[in-house]
Symmetry: C2
Subunit: 370 residues, 2 copies
């Protein structure tokens, strides 16, 4: 008997990718398998090659088997890919295999980037403890539109032969509503405050963004407190008073820059997970991609020193959003906090002179608490 | 005899604008007049009405006399304008009188935003003293192009009647070269390091930006160290390790968000000046506009409590870039530092419970040291 859509196991596709991607993903996978067993989760896990190393070895950034797996997966557990190291790669291959095209193929529209601060890392963060205390915010970054995707785009020559670079920033109201509805609902389940970010003062696309969010608030979410904030002001406020934020809704570009700006608080990019979701499919499941916010970090790749906590916390997001087991998600998050409280530190979060654990030992420290 | 272009006095146009703009500008003007007398600077100072209050009183955001003064001025000393409070204003008036159109009319292409940290404000800043120590960076934000200005733009309806917001991000190589050359030259006179910011990994306009900056570096500025940095990484690094930056070159949009994100370090937006410059006119002078980074702050307007230091430090930039008297610029900057070291604090930079000085008393504290 073929299992029905509702009961078929969750398919998780693991793409370690480049640089430190495979190293941190290996630890994340240990945690995932552990939780799968502990909670008896119906889950099928498949690993496939992807990235620049794969391209160098096989001539393909994303070989056919990986493409096929992407088409049938529910959730990708992604490591990292070095998007600039692509000299000599045919443009078509680059386009078909890029992270942006992966996001598009999976239909991802909402990128969740939680920023929580860990007391144990107060000393490591560039911020004062009084600024860090109680920070618990999440970005909902619209991921399907905006200036990364709009047409026309390219480098052209004008009449005088000068080159011009062009990208087009476009949002239609359905895209805005979809992301905003998701963000409002999320805020409703948290502290009930949504901050919507735009540059409505100078961009028409931002003015539309503000109108649409305001209308949706009025029609469906009056119980949520809505603040509109200019993107520059948000950049400032994230540093001045991050506690004030609960859910922050942004477009694709502002979310990219602002969530990284907020990441400084956590002490290291190595602490920050992310998850990206599609709208629910007919069977009610969303497709998803989970990845650490950090990149491939080629400078430390292969040395076994990378911090796997962002990848492990991405597994917590997978457990929450794709497997639907909130208790398991919280257990992973609590184990990370407990490991840090017990003094486990990878090099990126160790104070100068403090001994640091390698990638696997950090994985051990978390697993020991699960 | 009409004075020759070279010897004609510098014309300074003071536009206090809205909200706290007139209050902080009044203190800046006291400092400017003081330095004018002290250094016997040939300078003609003219004040004109501008802004939403002017619009409400006269039906014009920028009355004819102000428009005429803008056309002949060398340097605008600008307070603030509340760009969102414009319900009922005809679109044409809004467009003709906006800050963006003022920037365009003056031909401003380089927006300088220095961020220096003051030891006296270590306690006020959300950052740890070890992060703040030695921060001395300046943004060169390209101000004439990018997504604020590109066409097509607007809100349109697609075939199904759904609204779409569109803005176009365009840079041609001449715009990039002009801003980059300015930034390289500035870095050469400082610590010799330029960080150029883009999203070359996902935007063709960013890829062109990177190519053009790299070529200019190779052709004219090999003595300056050039780093390319993705905009998101820059957002992170400004918080993690701001000391590493000397001059940061950005496009219009990234500069807007990143410079505000960096502003958190200074403890308050009320500390941050800016200056915007045109290319030199035939007489060798650049046209310019100086303004605090903060806005009109309607919540505290009229109360005499706003911090005038950003406006006063903008006068220092005017003395440096328009009047060409570096010694006078440094004297103003040193007086601000000395006033802070002596304990002068407006409400925005006072610790909780600490008594705060009003706007005029802060002006007094600086003037007493000039
Ligand atoms: C690699 C790049 C395309 C990506 C983005 O900007 O979306 C990255 O910066 C991120 O934030 O996930
Ligand atoms: C008011 C607005 C147009 C302006 C900008 O974004 O350029 C402001 O935010 C600034 O940074 O000077």
């Amino acid at each position: 008997m073929t299992p029905s859509a509702a009961t078929r196991p969750l398919h998780v596709l693991v793409l370690g990718g480049d640089g430190i991607g495979p190293e941190v993903t290996a630890q994340a996978l240990r945690v995932l398998r552990h939780m799968q067993a502990k909670y008896a989760l119906p889950m099928q896990i498949e690993e496939q090659p992807y990235g620049n190393a794969t391209w160098r070895a096989t001539g393909s950034l994303m070989p056919a088997a990986t493409h096929a797996a992407v088409d049938r997966t529910d959730a990708v557990l992604f490591g990292a890919v070095d998007s600039l190291d692509r000299a000599g790669m045919p443009a078509e291959e680059r386009a078909r295999g890029s992270l942006l095209s992966l996001r598009r193929r999976l239909g991802l529209f909402a990128n969740l980037r939680p920023v929580r601060t860990e007391r144990a890392l107060d000393e490591v963060s560039p911020f004062k403890p009084r600024t860090l205390a109680g920070v618990d915010l999440v970005f909902v970054r619209e991921l399907s539109g905006g200036v990364y995707y709009g047409e026309p785009r390219g480098i052209e020559r004008d009449a005088d032969g000068r080159r011009r670079g062009i990208n087009t920033h476009i949002y239609d109201e359905d895209q805005i509503i979809r992301a905003a509805r998701f963000a409002f609902a999320l805020a409703r389940g948290r502290r009930g405050v949504l901050t919507s970010v735009d540059k409505a003062n100078v961009m028409e696309a931002g003015a539309l963004w503000r109108q649409v969010v305001t209308a949706l608030h009025h029609d469906e979410f009056r119980d949520v407190k809505l603040d509109h904030m200019l993107a520059d002001t948000c950049g400032l406020m994230l540093n001045r008073d991050p506690k004030r934020f609960d859910v922050i809704l942004t477009d694709n570009l502002f979310g990219d820059v602002l969530s990284d700006a907020a990441a400084g608080m956590a002490g290291s990019l190595g602490m920050l997970p992310s998850g990206s979701l599609s709208v629910p499919k007919p069977d009610g499941r969303r497709r998803a991609l989970y990845e650490p916010v950090h990149g491939s970090a080629p400078d430390i790749a292969g040395k076994g020193v990378a911090n796997p906590l962002a990848a492990i916390l991405s597994v917590a997001l997978l457990l929450r959003w794709s497997a639907g087991v909130e208790a398991a998600a919280r257990e992973v998050e609590a184990a990370v906090t407990a490991a840090l409280d017990a003094g486990a530190r990878s090099a990126d979060i160790a104070l100068a002179g403090e001994p640091a654990l390698g990638t696997e030992a950090m994985g051990d420290a978390v697993l020991a608490r699960l």
